[in-house]
Symmetry: C3
Subunit: 214 residues, 3 copies
């Protein structure tokens, strides 16, 4: 099995994905009219929460945001800038505009998280779970901090499910001895593509057959 070296791929990938996820946190904080500290925490949690949880569970150190601490300064200025200049119409614009980088981030984070777990020789399902967790848990923590049921859990759009399928593909490609670039970027691209299709074709996950009794 050819293993992707963390140093080569991790940095550029995480930067792209981080930015999209940070913006989603920024918007969530703005929506709740949080103060500067709240916005900063929500932004940071959305951007780094998934990868940090993965690294805590896998006992990996240092965290991405510790190793690349300058990004935190950038995030801090981004938040302050947004608080001064962002208006309602910007929120709507930004929400639509981040769908593309968010889809890219979903693919890249899921593939990368899976690959990192594969390096540790964990079971297939755990590797796929780590990929999904990396991609999705930043948003989950963002919503919990905003006191809402995580959108990924009940908006019935295919999001984590696509990341899960892609993560299984990463495992498969590694098993077939493809090169590291193929193992990471082909599934990442497929996940991003499927996610964008899911948005534009309005795919829906199947619903429960039960009636809500609340």
């Amino acid at each position: 099995m050819i293993i992707v070296t963390t140093s080569t791929l991790q940095v550029p990938i995480e930067i792209c994905a981080t930015f999209a996820f940070a913006l989603s946190g920024l918007i969530a904080g703005a929506r709740k009219r949080m103060d500067a500290f709240g916005v900063f925490v929500i932004t940071g949690v959305a951007a780094f929460g998934g990868g940090t949880l993965r690294d805590v569970l896998l006992d990996r150190r240092p965290f991405f945001w510790v190793e690349h601490a300058n990004w935190i300064w950038l995030m801090l200025f981004l938040c302050l800038f947004a608080m001064v200049f962002m208006r309602n119409r910007h929120i709507q614009l930004t929400e639509r505009a981040i769908q593309l980088p968010d889809a890219l981030g979903l693919g890249l984070y899921a593939s990368l998280g899976t690959q990192i777990a594969l390096e540790l020789h964990l079971p297939v399902i755990i590797c796929a779970l780590m990929g999904v967790m990396t991609a999705v848990f930043g948003g989950v923590l963002r919503d919990i901090f905003c006191n809402e049921i995580p959108k990924a859990f009940n908006d019935h759009q295919p999001y984590a499910v696509i990341a899960f399928a892609g993560s299984l593909l990463v495992v498969t490609l590694n098993g077939l001895n493809f090169s590291q670039w193929i193992c990471v970027f082909v599934p990442a691209g497929l996940i991003s593509l499927l996610r964008i299709l899911a948005i534009y074709l309005k795919w829906r996950l199947p619903s429960w057959q039960i009636e809500s009794n609340r």
Copy 2:
């Protein structure tokens, strides 16, 4: 002090308890009409959250669900099966039906968690806390993910309190040099029994003397 070996006891115990707690998560997710991913996460968090938090705090690896990854596949199919076949009346049936395995799980998880902490020679109160945490925090995280105040915190039923008393008994029995089986299973049985009595005799924890001003 005779120490229970993790390998002998942990697996069968955690399987029983895990299943009951997983079902409680499944029902909570169904109640909130979450989508497939949400139900899966809530189920997994309810089943493995307490033990995972304990292991993160005690810096133990690998986690139970990493070592026995096949259970995750089983859980995945359980969730999908439930989404297709579960109806309202099943939820009510299941809620009543899981009270017994949940009580068993409470006892077994609390005793096992305490015993694991004892192996690490931690102070008495920490061992008891680890037992309670193992048994109760899956449910706490399940409720936080569902955006509710954890039921264990404000339903005024004796649940964690019973687990705490039982955990102290585990410590006491270890101190008296009883065999490992007695140290784990006698308190586990007592906790389960007390919990079932608490349900059927409708025991209540004492309330605050204050008026609610919200």
Copy 3:
């Protein structure tokens, strides 16, 4: 760089701060009329949550509350005592009365958390973040467990912001080779003073320019 030894300073500092934060958790639990277990957990999380999260992220063991486990017994009796004797007027009294120790705790925890991270030679911004996290995250977790948006995120009072400024001062003083006592206690005092001024002069953080659309 002269490094403060953890053993000298950590214990008395954490005891002061812990008590104030524990009281804030106790009051939050009482407000929600939680049962004995809920109050105990909220109290513990408010008191130890920030330091524990810092130690998990920095991979430090043992936790303060594991090393000084007797404090947990004390906390347990405090909670039981409060449930029996606390009345509405006590809550109001206590809330006002803990503003001073809470301000002291904010300063001491933030300075200490920063100093601990400096010992590990982490980047400046990470050290400051660890200080803020130590001081603020107990309260954040307390509010999440109570199913509310964390007060530190949206009450628009300067709290974390003051801790952040003080944490940066800790880093600066360390860089200027001041003695360990000055590095920790001068910023701690300044943070506490500013926090008390912020309360009495009703300082407010700037608000968003956007309209709330919820």
